[in-house]
Symmetry: C2
Subunit: 397 residues, 2 copies
C-alpha cells in the first residue's frame, strides 16, 4: 500500500517540543523544556472530593453523552466569572467548552480559514497553535514582538498586504514563549486595526491568572463592542491540563459554526471533568486557589532569576517576565543557538530552541525557552549551572 | 462585523439528530431518537472505586499533561485484547487513543483527504461521521445498503468512477442507523476492492460487543495483511460515552500522521479517563461486564420487538437487527416519512428521520430510526403504541 496524505499534512512535522520531550522523559536529564504545571499546584484533594461525591450522587451526569456546547452550569458560571472579574462578555457573545484551548485554535481555523488564507501571529508564538493553523494549510504571517507586544506598524503592514487574513492570534499576557506582556496602548491598537481591516482576533489567555508582579491589564476582549474578539481561557494551568477543559467566548455567529465543527470533531468535551471544574469554581474558593498558585510560582521564578543572575549573566540575557511559566533567553552574538541547545542536551539539560516558535523555522533566532514551573528547585539550580558552564566553555571564559 | 466563514463550513448545518434532541430533552416527550447507553449499563461503582484509588495514590498521573498517542498502558492492554480476542493487529500496525471515535473520523479525514476528494460511505450511514467528512469539504459517495451490507457492484462502480476516493467508511456490525450486519463474504469483497483500488478502509465498530443473537463475524481488520484498514473501537457504548475515550489501530505511517493532527487538535485525550478505562479492563472482569450489557439490551430489544409486532405490523416493517442499539423502520408506500416524523413529534414521540443519514438528504427515504437502549421499557411500549396509532390514523385503518 502506498499511502497518500493530504496536502495540508504532508509537510507537517511532529512538534519540536514533543520531540525534545523524548529526552525530557528520561529522568537522567534535567528538563527545562516542558510547560507543565508544578505537581504541587494541582488541587488533587479537592478534585478527589468533588469526583467521589459526583459519582456517588449523580453518576449518569458524569458518564452519559452530553451536549456539544458544554455543561450548561459551567458555561453559566464562567459567563458570570468573566463578566464580574474581567468585564468580558456582551449580549452578542456566547461561550462554549472545548477539549483544551488547543481545540479553540483548531475549531476557529476550521470555521473561518480557507486553505491558503492567512493567519497573523506574533513572532515568536506558541508552536502548538502554529501547527494547528498549518494543519489547515493556512499561511502564517509573523509580526515581530517588541518588549511591549507586537510591532504595530508591522501588524498594519501585514493586514494591508494580506486581504485574505482571517484572524490575528495573540497571547497578550506572559506570552509563550517570550514571556512578554502586551501594553494597554498596544491592546487598543491591535483591536482598532482588527476592526479597521475586518479580521477577528483570537486572544489566548492561558496564563492571565499567573501574574507575580504588577497589576493586571484589561483583556482585548474587554474592549469588544463590535464582536471581533474570540477570548480563549483554560483550566489547564489553573486546575489540571490532564482533564483538557477550556472555554471560548465570542460573537454568537462564530461560536455557532465552531459548535458545528466540534460536533464533527469530538461530539463534546469529557463531561465528568467539566462537572468537576464547575464544582471547583462554584463550591471552593477559586480566587484563594489562584493566589496559592501565584505563591508557588513566584517562589520558583525567584529561584530561576537568582540562578540566572549567578550563572548566565552577563553572557546570556533574558526578557522581563512578570507572570506565566517561561523565560526567554538570548545568546550572545556569534553563538549558534541550535548548536548551544544540542550541546545542552549532551550535558543532559533540555531547553527548547527558539526557532520552534517561528512562523518560518529557518529564520535566524538567538533565543531559547526555559520553563520554571515543572522542574524542582534543585533541578532548576543545577540545570542553570550547567547552562552557565556551557556558555562559558563556548566563549572560552 | 461581517463574518466570513470557510467554504468547508459555510453550508454545514447542525446535526439533525442534535436538533431533535432539543425536543427529546423535554421530559414530556418520549425520545426514541438518542443513541445513549442505558443508564443501568454504566459500571458506575467500579469507576468510582478506580478513580478514588487513582486520585489518592497517583493524582499527578491523572491530572498532568500526557502524551498525544495516549496512555501507554492502555495502548498495550488494547493491543493485547484486540490480538487475543479478535485477531486484530500485525507488526505494521500501531494504536492510539482518541477523544471518542468521532475524532478518529476527523483525524483520518484531515490526514488523507484533500478538499474535493471522495469518501465512500454506506447509504444510509452515521450522520456524525458524514458531517465530519463534510467539514473537510470531502465529496460523499453513498453505496446503497442491502440486507447483508453494501451492494458490492455499486461499491466497485463508485471506486472506478472516483479515482480521488481516499477511503471507504463502514460500520460492519449492527450499522447505525440500519442495524444491518455485513456478511463475511462481503467483508472479504470490500477488503479486496479497497486493495485493488488502493484506498483505505475505516472500519468503525462501536457496537461489535453488543451482539444479542448469533455468532460474531471476523472484522475486516482481521484480514488485513496489506496495511489498508483503520480499525476504530470505542469505550462509549461499553463503559461510558461521557469520558470520550476511543482507539484506532492501523498501519504506522497513517497513525503517525493522525498523531501529528491530534497534537494540533486537542494535544491528548483526557488522561484521567484513559487511566480509568485501563484499570477497568485490567483489574475487573471486562468480559463479564460485556455479558451483563448484552443481557440488559437483549431484554430491551425484546420489549421493542414485542411492541412493534403488536402495534406497527403489518403497516410499518423493520430490518433484522441482531445487535446494536437501533431499529430501522420502513413506512408503507404513499406515506411521507418527514410528515410522519413531524406528526410523531406533535404526539410527543421523537424518532430520527432517515434522510438525516443519507449522503444527500434530498434523496427519497421511507425509513426512520428507533433507539431502544435509552428509553425505559415503559417509554418504549408507550412510544411504539403512539406510533402505531399514528400510522393507523394516517392510513385510515
Amino acid at each position: 500500500m502506498e499511502y497518500k496524505f493530504s496536502d495540508r499534512v504532508s509537510t507537517l512535522k511532529p512538534s519540536a517540543i514533543r520531540e525534545i520531550f523524548k529526552y525530557a522523559a528520561d529522568p537522567s536529564y534535567i528538563s527545562l523544556s516542558a510547560g507543565n504545571p508544578a505537581p504541587e499546584a494541582f488541587p488533587a484533594k479537592e478534585i478527589a472530593e468533588i469526583s467521589a461525591k459526583l459519582l456517588a450522587e449523580n453518576p449518569i451526569l458524569a458518564l452519559q453523552y452530553s451536549v456539544t456546547e458544554g455543561y450548561p452550569l459551567l458555561r453559566e458560571e464562567l459567563t458570570k466569572y468573566l463578566k464580574e472579574n474581567h468585564n468580558i462578555g456582551r449580549d452578542f457573545d456566547n461561550i462554549i467548552i472545548t477539549s483544551g484551548a488547543q481545540q479553540i485554535a483548531d475549531l476557529l481555523t476550521k470555521a473561518v480559514v480557507n486553505e491558503g488564507d492567512v493567519v497573523i501571529t506574533e513572532a515568536p508564538s506558541f508552536i502548538g497553535c502554529l501547527n494547528t493553523f498549518r494543519a489547515y494549510n493556512a499561511k502564517l504571517v509573523g509580526v515581530p514582538m517588541e518588549s511591549d507586544g507586537m510591532n504595530i506598524e508591522k501588524l498594519e503592514e501585514a493586514l494591508k498586504n494580506n486581504p485574505n487574513a482571517k484572524f490575528i492570534y495573540t497571547i497578550p499576557n506572559f506570552q509563550n514563549p517570550s514571556g512578554i506582556t502586551m501594553s494597554l496602548e498596544k491592546r487598543h491598537a491591535v483591536y482598532d486595526l482588527a476592526k479597521k481591516y475586518g479580521v477577528l482576533i483570537l486572544e489566548d489567555n492561558p496564563y492571565g491568572d499567573l501574574r507575580y508582579i504588577g497589576e493586571a491589564l484589561p483583556s482585548i476582549k474587554s474592549f469588544d463592542e463590535d464582536g471581533i474578539v474570540m477570548y480563549a481561557g483554560s483550566f489547564s494551568k489553573v486546575i489540571s491540563p490532564g482533564m483538557r477543559v477550556a472555554y471560548v467566548m465570542g460573537p454568537q455567529p462564530v461560536i455557532q459554526k465552531m459548535v458545528v465543527c466540534k460536533q464533527g470533531a469530538d461530539v463534546h468535551t469529557n463531561i465528568w471533568s467539566q462537572v468537576v471544574c464547575y464544582e471547583f469554581m462554584k463550591n471552593y474558593d477559586f480566587n484563594a486557589h489562584l493566589e496559592n498558585l501565584r505563591q508557588i510560582y513566584t517562589k520558583k521564578r525567584q529561584v530561576l532569576l537568582d540562578a540566572m543572575e549567578k550563572n548566565l549573566a552577563p553572557y546570556i540575557t533574558w526578557d522581563d517576565f512578570n507572570g506565566g511559566l517561561f523565560a526567554w533567553c538570548h545568546l550572545p552574538e556569534g553563538v549558534d543557538m541550535l548548536d548551544f541547545v544540542q550541546k545542552a542536551v549532551e550535558r543532559k539539560v533540555c531547553v527548547v530552541p527558539g526557532t520552534a516558535f517561528l512562523t518560518d523555522e529557518n529564520d535566524p533566532c538567538d533565543a531559547f525557552r526555559i520553563n520554571f514551573s515543572t522542574p524542582t528547585d534543585e533541578q532548576l539550580v543545577k540545570g542553570i549551572e550547567i547552562l552557565g558552564q556551557l556558555i562559558r566553555d563556548i566563549l572560552g571564559k
